[in-house]
Every structure is written in structure tokens, then in C-alpha cells.
């Protein structure tokens, strides 16, 4: 599991996750995600290369999203695979963190 960031226009930080977001994967990104949540206004979480999303991985996405929201910011999920999207929807996560498959739409919704 790797995590990298890329600044975009308008205070949006694109966070690119790559790998399996299982117990080990979430442990590997938790700290960085918390730091990002505490320091960024708008987070675009790029899930294109996430091949698996487990229950602990879900937590690694939801908790930072709540932190960002409390600080007056927003988070959006970008381009999850059908399997990952299914997990997100099974937990109603899409009701609190919107999912987009179009990058421009995602960025526009954040700003």
C-alpha cells in the first residue's frame, strides 16, 4: 500500500492510494491520512489503484473525512473499482462522502 499526494488548483489535495486497503494497508496509511485531514481543506481521494477495500480500510477513509468536515472542508472519492464501490455503498459511505468517476466533476464539487 502506498500513498502519495499531488496539489491541485483551489486548495484541493489529490491523495493517490495504491494497493490493497486491508488491515496492513490501512495501518500503513492511517498516520499520513490523519495528517492530511488535519492540514488540508479539500481532499480528493483517488481510489483508481485500490484493488481491495476491507473493513479497517473503510475506517481509514471515513475518519479523515469526518475530520476534514469538522474543519469546514470536504472530501470526495474518485474512481473506485466496481468491487470497492460496492463495499462503500454497502456501508452507505456514499451518503457522507460523494463518489465521482469524472475528475472535473469531482474537483468542481469540492471547490
Amino acid at each position: 500500500m502506498t500513498i502519495s499526494t499531488e496539489p491541485m488548483d483551489g486548495e484541493v489535495t489529490r491523495v493517490i492510494l495504491d494497493g490493497r486497503l486491508d488491515i496492513q494497508g490501512s495501518a500503513a496509511i492511517d498516520l499520513k491520512m490523519n495528517v492530511l485531514a488535519g492540514s488540508s481543506k479539500f481532499l480528493l481521494l483517488d481510489l483508481t489503484n485500490v484493488s481491495f477495500l476491507g473493513s479497517m480500510g473503510l475506517r481509514s477513509i471515513v475518519l479523515p473525512a469526518q475530520t476534514v468536515k469538522r474543519r469546514g472542508g470536504k472530501m470526495a472519492l474518485f474512481n473506485p473499482s466496481p468491487m470497492v464501490e460496492e463495499v462503500l455503498k454497502a456501508s452507505n459511505i456514499d451518503e457522507i462522502i460523494p463518489i465521482y468517476h469524472d475528475l472535473d466533476a469531482a474537483v468542481a464539487a469540492l471547490r
Binding site: 488491515i23 473493513s55 469526518q66 456501508s91 452507505n92
Partner: protein, 572 residues
């Protein structure tokens, strides 16, 4: 201590915060340290916090001295701001106020073949005569006896006995056993007086420089008449306070427990040291070197074995605790699942570690309905297992009759308020009445599969919030009318996410296929059939998540002519 008349070599250990330390010989003298090479530095340090002209180390009348050449914010020796000072072995030198890099001063006597540590000691020891063999034999016998005892006795009393023998053999006033702490610094673990009394370890103040020398030479060191002039101020104070005149340090080394082929002289493993001292001078001068060697190797082996025994006991204790946890968890599952008049039931729980994060439960409710539930806590192992126990307690309270939606809402708030628990759960809670009405509340649990007249469908579609992840989550109750012989399969995601060796998942479709032929099977056969499919699919790959299955078949009590009812359920 440092005897400047004999050839002495010294070095600086440069300890960096972010990379391994490096030893640099202090030569030539005076030896200059600073940033870059421009100022003629012999030890250039590439760190902006170090001044170009930092320190000089020179030979003085009493040994090596250090002098501040203009380091910003000054230099500190053993934590004290210093302009100029003589150095003792082991002194820690910090440059400036940042912790960027630290220097440790090390003295090292030159060992030439004709002047080994051994011969230096021999010259100190003098003659011992025939009695040394008797002493030696006595020592060995005593120590071997304690070694035999140590499996039965508490560790501390074994080590105390060992120290008492060491004191008796060497005629010391006090003895201490030191062991390295997590930072590798030797700390006094045990101290005894010559009458076999325990002494308070915090009041012991063994000479650090004598200890340091024994560790450096990796052999026993006798220090007669500790020469105050050679000691650094701190140690000298401790020596004067306690009026100590002589000391013996025997470093203890263990043998390597891991045997690797082609071992190239692995570094010896330091277990600790025995430190003996006396207020009288020349107490130890008559000690034979053989005695000290025997003392060292015997004490090391006692300490080593004792530590192994201790670790083994600790491992056994943890294993026992885990097995108790497993027994309790299994015992909390419904025992001897009994069929109710209106339903037949079977279930199983197979954790992938000792204890699991899944569980199921079945219990009667005061209003005549039966509660069936399955819960899956995020994560695995003991952490998740602790939470399942809490959930089970909270949910079992519903046998007294409480609205399940309120209980889910309460549990969600309870866990969200304690976010540092770091866990949440997915759950399915159903209440099945004799009339076949199943009322259920779901929290992100995969939909139970409904087997009706040979067709399998999912009990519901769409998502729901888990419990304990999202504070604003809400839950709702749904209802469905079951027909007689309708069979519900509740399962945890460990079933559908079982993996084969290539990490393919068992998946929903295979589960549906495995369930479909079982309309007329007994529930035990149905459950066994599903487990068999999962195992055949995994084909020997290790179980990656907890597996829990609960199977419920509705039967209308006392009525053979059941009215066909239509149920709303999503087709697969």
C-alpha cells in the same frame, strides 16, 4: 583509569540521530573538530548546527582534555556546560544545544602481544598458591548447585544466591548484578551486602568508568585503589561518598541461541555484569584470574538460563490467556443450538486466529419471537474479540424486550464517543415470530440469503450504516413474511472473501451456487455443504478471516396447511 604514562589510544564515537555511529581515532594531537575542513579540522562534521571552529582535544598532564574553540551556544560534557575539562572514558560530549550529534570519548589501552590485558592482570594479582584450586572447586560446586535450583526458585532468589557466592569467594563488601536497560546502559538490578542482605539498588553507584573498561576489554577488570585523580568529577564524587577503594567487574556474555551455518564470529551478547567492591584496599589483588573467569561464565550461564526460563514462562502465560479468551468466546456462543417450535437452527464460528471478531447469537424474546443475529467487528484477533463480547452483552439485553433500532442507535453512539477503541461492527439483527414475520435491522452486514422453493435471493439490497463508524448514522427496521421451509443463511464476509492461493475471492455467486441445492437438506448438511465448497475453493490456502455461519429454517408450528405468502425480497 587512564594511565597516561603507558601508551593509550583514544577515539571518539560520533553518534548521529539518523545513521549508525562512527568511531574516529583521536590522532594527531591536538585534535580539531568542527564543520568542514577549512579550519584544519581533523574530524569535519557536516552539520550546519556545528560551528567551523568547534572543539579541540589535547593531551594534558592528567590525560585528554577538551576545550571549546567557539561553538555556538557552547559545549556540554555529560550534560554540563564546559569551557575546558579533562576527559574520562565514556564522557558524552554534545556540541551546541541541538541534539544533532553527540560524541562519546573512549579510552583504549594499546594491547600488544607482550602486554595483553591478561598479563597486566597477572602482574596485579600476585601469587595465590595451592588454595586457588580449592576455591575454584568450591565456587564451581556452589554455582552449579544454584544452577540446578533455578528452575524451581524465583529468578530473584537464584540471582541473589549467585551474588552471595560471588561476594563470599572474593571477600567483597557488596555485590551487584547489572543488566542493560532498553538503551543498552547497564543498570543495577540487584545488590547484596556481605551478610547476604539485600541493598537498595537505587542507592548503588557503581563506577561507570570501571564498568566501561570491562565492557570494552570484554573481560574481568580488577581496579585496586581507584585513583581519584583519573576519575571524572561525577564518578569521583560517588567513589568518595562511598569510600570505595577497590572494585571488580566481571562482564557476563551469553552464547548465541540461534545457530546459523558459516557463523562468522558473531558479536558476543552482553547479558550484564557482576560488580563487586570493597572499602578496603587490595581486597581483590590476590584473586586468581581463573576464579574470575569461572565466576563470569557460571554467572552468565545462570543469568542466561534464568532469562530463557522467564521468557518461556511469559510465552506460556500469554498462550494460556489467549486460550482462556478462546474458551470464553466459544462458551458465549449459543450452546447446543435447540430448535424452537417455529424454527430450526444451526450455526458455526471458526476464527482465523485463536479468537475472532465475528459471532452469532440466538435467543428467545419475551414476546414469543426469537432473536437471530450475526455481527462482525472490523479487524481480527483479540482486539476485535473484546468488542464482540461487549456487543453480545448489549444485544442480549433485548431478550427483555427493547426496540432493536434504539439499541443499534445507542451502540453506534457509544462506540463513536469512544473513537479510540478504533473498531466498528457490521450487524444483522432479526426477530422471527411464530407467524413467520421476520423483523430485522441491518448495519452494513451483507444480506442474508433466502432459499425459497429452490431459488436463492438476497434478503435486501442497498447499503446501511455500520455501527460505531459514523456518528450521524440512523437505522431502520424492515419486515418480510417468511413461508414455511424458507431457509435463511446468515454469514460473515469471511465466507465470501475466503481466498484461494492466487488471492481470488470465493464471492457471492459461488455461495449462491453452494446454497441452491439444499432446499430439502437438513440444516447440518446444508452448513457442511457450504463449508465444503469454501474449503474446496481455498484448496489449502490459509483462512484469511473469521468465518461465521447461521442457518435458520422457518416452520409454521402446529399447522401443516400453511398459507402461501408473498415475500418481498430482491432477486439475485
Amino acid at each position: 583509569m587512564a594511565d597516561i604514562s603507558s601508551p593509550v589510544r583514544a577515539r571518539l564515537e560520533v553518534a548521529f540521530a539518523d545513521r549508525p555511529s562512527q568511531a574516529v581515532p583521536i590522532t594527531p594531537l591536538p585534535f580539531l573538530v568542527g564543520r568542514g575542513r577549512e579550519s584544519g579540522n581533523h574530524l569535519p562534521i557536516d552539520d550546519m548546527r556545528i560551528s567551523r571552529k568547534c572543539i579541540t582535544i589535547a593531551a594534558g598532564p592528567t590525560g585528554f582534555t577538551i576545550e571549546d574553540r567557539g561553538q555556538l551556544n557552547g559545549i556540554f560534557v555529560n550534560g554540563e556546560l564546559t569551557r575546558s575539562k579533562s576527559l574520562a572514558d565514556g564522557d558524552r560530549i554534545r556540541l551546541g544545544t541541538d541534539d544533532g550529534c553527540q560524541l562519546i570519548f573512549r579510552l583504549q589501552p594499546v594491547e600488544s602481544p607482550g602486554d595483553t590485558a591478561e598479563t597486566r592482570f597477572r602482574s596485579l594479582l600476585g601469587s595465590w598458591g595451592g588454595s586457588s584450586t580449592d576455591e575454584l572447586k568450591g565456587l564451581r560446586l556452589l554455582l552449579e548447585a544454584t544452577q540446578l535450583l533455578h528452575a524451581q526458585l524465583p529468578l530473584e532468589s537464584v540471582l541473589s544466591t549467585m551474588l552471595d557466592h560471588a561476594i563470599a569467594i572474593t571477600h567483597a563488601d557488596r555485590g551487584m548484578l547489572l543488566e542493560p536497560d532498553s538503551a543498552g546502559v547497564l543498570q543495577v538490578k540487584l545488590a547484596r551486602g556481605r551478610k547476604g542482605e539485600s541493598l537498595p539498588t537505587e542507592k548503588m553507584n557503581p563506577s561507570r568508568s570501571v564498568l566501561g573498561r570491562a565492557l570494552e576489554l570484554e573481560t574481568a577488570v580488577i581496579n585496586e585503589d581507584l585513583n581519584l585523580a583519573d576519575l571524572n568529577v561525577q564518578t569521583a564524587q560517588s567513589v568518595m561518598l562511598q569510600l570505595l577503594r577497590s572494585a571488580v567487574v566481571v562482564p557476563l556474555y551469553g552464547v548465541a541461541h540461534t545457530i546459523t551455518p558459516n557463523t562468522v564470529q558473531a558479536p558476543r551478547r552482553l547479558l550484564g555484569a557482576v560488580y563487586l567492591d570493597s572499602k578496603r584496599t587490595a581486597t581483590f589483588s590476590a584473586l586468581d584470574r581463573q576464579i574470575l573467569d569461572a565466576l563470569g561464565s557460571q554467572a552468565a550461564s545462570i543469568l542466561d538460563n534464568a532469562r530463557l526460563v522467564e521468557r518461556e514462562r511469559e510465552r506460556q502465560r500469554l498462550e494460556q490467556e489467549l486460550s482462556i479468551a478462546r474458551d470464553i468466546q466459544q462458551a458465549l456462543l449459543p450452546q447446543g443450538l435447540q430448535d424452537y417450535p417455529h424454527l430450526a437452527i444451526t450455526g458455526m464460528h471458526r476464527p482465523c486466529h485463536e479468537v475472532g471478531g465475528d459471532y452469532f447469537d440466538v435467543f428467545p424474546i419475551a414476546d414469543g419471537r426469537t432473536a437471530i443475529l450475526i455481527a462482525d467487528v472490523a479487524g481480527k484477533g483479540l482486539g476485535a474479540a473484546l468488542l464482540t463480547t461487549m456487543l453480545q452483552g448489549a444485544l442480549s439485553g433485548m431478550s427483555l424486550g427493547v426496540d432493536p433500532v434504539s439499541v443499534f442507535t445507542h451502540l453506534n453512539r457509544f462506540l463513536c464517543e469512544r473513537a479510540s477503541v478504533g473498531r466498528y461492527a457490521t450487524m444483522f439483527f432479526g426477530l422471527l415470530g411464530p407467524d413467520g414475520v421476520l423483523e430485522y435491522v441491518r448495519a452494513s452486514q451483507p444480506p442474508p440469503l433466502l432459499l425459497r422453493r429452490g431459488q436463492v435471493s438476497e434478503l435486501y439490497t442497498g447499503g446501511s450504516f455500520p455501527v460505531g463508524l459514523i456518528e450521524m448514522a440512523t437505522y431502520k427496521a424492515d419486515r418480510i413474511q417468511l413461508e414455511p421451509d424458507d431457509t435463511l443463511l446468515l454469514y460473515s464476509d469471511g465466507v465470501t472473501e475466503a481466498q484461494d492461493k492466487d488471492l481470488n475471492l470465493f464471492g457471492d455467486e459461488r455461495l449462491v451456487e453452494a446454497l441452491t441445492p439444499h432446499q430439502n437438506s437438513s440444516l447440518a448438511d446444508l452448513q457442511a455443504g457450504i463449508l465444503r465448497s469454501v474449503e474446496q475453493f481455498a484448496d489449502g490456502a490459509s483462512q484469511s478471516d473469521d468465518i461465521t455461519i447461521l442457518v435458520v429454517r422457518y416452520r409454521r408450528p402446529g399447522s401443516l396447511a400453511a398459507e402461501p405468502q408473498t415475500a418481498t425480497s430482491a432477486p439475485v
